[in-house]
């Protein structure tokens, strides 16, 4: 969707890789666009002379999008995760080029990233069988990383504030910024989550690093299972349930809405796999409230996309269409809160 302002995008990628390795004459070949997105474009390139070549990915953001701070957080998170042997791309460089584009260079990990293929293609049945265990193990290790282990400060809840309430605050702020008309379901859901969260016992586990965009569409895989976890720009400090439930958000189940955990497993199976891998107990009521908030977050994304189309920031029939689908997510929010109500009554 975004267009690099440069008239020579391939040249810009070659220059970015050279800047990244600090060698203005480094051999760079085969630059090609992998995927274009609203926020940035991903390019593949090969670095090094014949015989000593290395595949890299360059992620380029258009100037003025002002995500340099987020890119640095992502880079620092990848450094921390990679140094612990987690399945993430090795981060090589983050910076800006001469025309103000923020970019990041990382190693290219083999594998596919199409979530629908992962969820339905018989060739990946073996991967699906082991994936939940692998993801639980990886995520448990991500959550062992403390904020002090990351070289730049990450977004953190205010001192002593419950993470759920902090997330409600953030979402209310986002609602005020993006809602084009009143959405009583979203307003009610945020109030309800807040009221139910206040009844929960206080958490005892110390805050830790949270992936921030852990979902099936951000995974790389092959027929044996997970190969890499991508897109860490939502990384922040918080609690495990945030990641565990975002993975269950209805929109990320694609054509398997019956399998709540990413279209791969049932919710309870996923929670138990995480409990086994982490040695921590997950409070089901806290989990349920986070799952509502995950869906509210997606409802707000759809509103933001509608707004970006309507105010011509990013004119796109696709954003307009997604923007019109807020009601689908509101229905899920009402269903989840209906179940939550039932569990309290029982």
């Amino acid at each position: 969707m975004s267009q690099a302002p440069s008239s020579d995008p391939v040249g810009a990628i070659v220059a970015a890789v050279r800047q990244g390795v600090g060698d203005a004459e480094a051999p760079v070949s085969g630059a090609r666009l992998l995927a274009g997105g609203a926020m940035h474009d991903s390019w593949a390139a090969t670095l090094g002379p014949p015989g000593r070549q290395r595949d890299v990915v360059v992620r380029m953001s258009p100037p003025g999008r002002d995500d340099a701070t987020r890119a640095r957080m992502e880079f620092a998170a990848l450094e921390a995760m990679h140094s612990r042997g987690l399945l993430v791309p090795e981060p090589l460089y983050v910076g800006e080029n001469e025309i103000g584009q923020t970019f990041m260079v990382m190693t290219r990990v083999p594998g596919d990233s199409n979530p629908r293929q992962l969820l339905t293609n018989p060739a990946f049945a073996g991967a699906r069988a082991v994936l939940i265990g692998q993801l639980a193990e990886q995520l448990a290790r991500v959550h062992m990383v403390s904020p002090a282990d990351v070289s730049v400060p990450l977004r953190t809840p205010h001192e002593d504030e419950d993470c759920l309430l902090f997330d409600c605050d953030r979402q209310e702020e986002e609602y005020r910024a993006v809602a084009l008309n009143a959405y009583p379901t979203v307003v009610w859901a945020l109030r309800k989550v807040r009221r139910l969260a206040e009844q929960l016992p206080p958490r005892t586990r110390p805050l830790h690093v949270v992936y921030g965009d852990f979902r099936v569409g951000n995974l790389m895989y092959d027929e044996h299972g997970l190969t890499s976890m991508l897109d860490w720009e939502g990384v922040h400090v918080g609690e495990a349930e945030d990641d565990l439930t975002w993975f269950c958000t209805r929109v990320w189940r694609f054509n398997r809405p019956d399998l709540e955990a990413g279209g791969i497993a049932h919710r309870e199976e996923w929670i138990q796999a995480y409990e086994k891998a982490s040695g921590r107990t997950i409070d089901r009521r806290r989990f349920a409230l986070w799952e509502v908030l995950g869906n509210v977050r997606w409802a707000l994304v759809t509103m933001r996309q509608a707004k970006q189309h309507l105010d011509r920031t990013v004119p796109s029939h696709e954003l307009a269409a997604i923007g019109r689908r807020t009601a689908d997510t509101e229905l899920e929010i009402l269903r989840l809160l209906g179940q939550e109500e039932g569990s309290h009554a029982g």
């Binding site: 008309n181 307003v187 109030r191 696709e318 019109r324 689908r325 689908d328 229905l331």
Partner: protein, 127 residues
């Protein structure tokens, strides 16, 4: 009055065309874009068919929660007025008017009915 094919006939024809083109497209990106476009026309078609009925239903639901108000005559006024009433509903939710169990149950019943009608237009397959 326009002759047939009318607006919904025309939308359906273009929707079918886009869906066929999507299935035949070799490139994943184009396949997806054509499918999104076809689905969007489906939303427009269903909105033309049902919107009037659904807004009136929503209006009666809002009458029960906020107190009765006469229905505006013109369709444009009706939509604008329904938006204004939904703003008022949000203000009252925030003020805690629907916190008590009975009031909350009435609110949730209305929200569920309204959102379900919206989904009947946006993505009936999800119901």
């Amino acid at each position: 009055m326009q002759d047939r094919p009318d607006a919904t006939d025309l939308l359906e024809a273009v929707e079918d065309f886009l869906r066929t083109q999507s299935a035949a497209a070799s490139e994943r990106w184009m396949r997806f874009q054509l499918l999104v476009a076809a689905n969007t026309l489906g939303i427009v078609r269903r909105e033309l068919l049902h919107e009037d009925e659904f807004v009136r239903k929503e209006w009666s639901g809002l009458d029960r929660l906020l107190g009765a108000e006469p229905l505006p005559d013109a369709a444009g006024d009706l939509r604008a007025a329904a938006r204004r009433r939904n703003e008022l509903l949000c203000e009252r939710i925030r003020a805690g008017v629907f916190d008590a169990p009975e009031a909350e149950a009435a609110l949730v019943a209305h929200l569920l009915e309204t959102v379900t009608d919206q989904v009947r237009i946006t993505s009936p397959a999800a119901l």
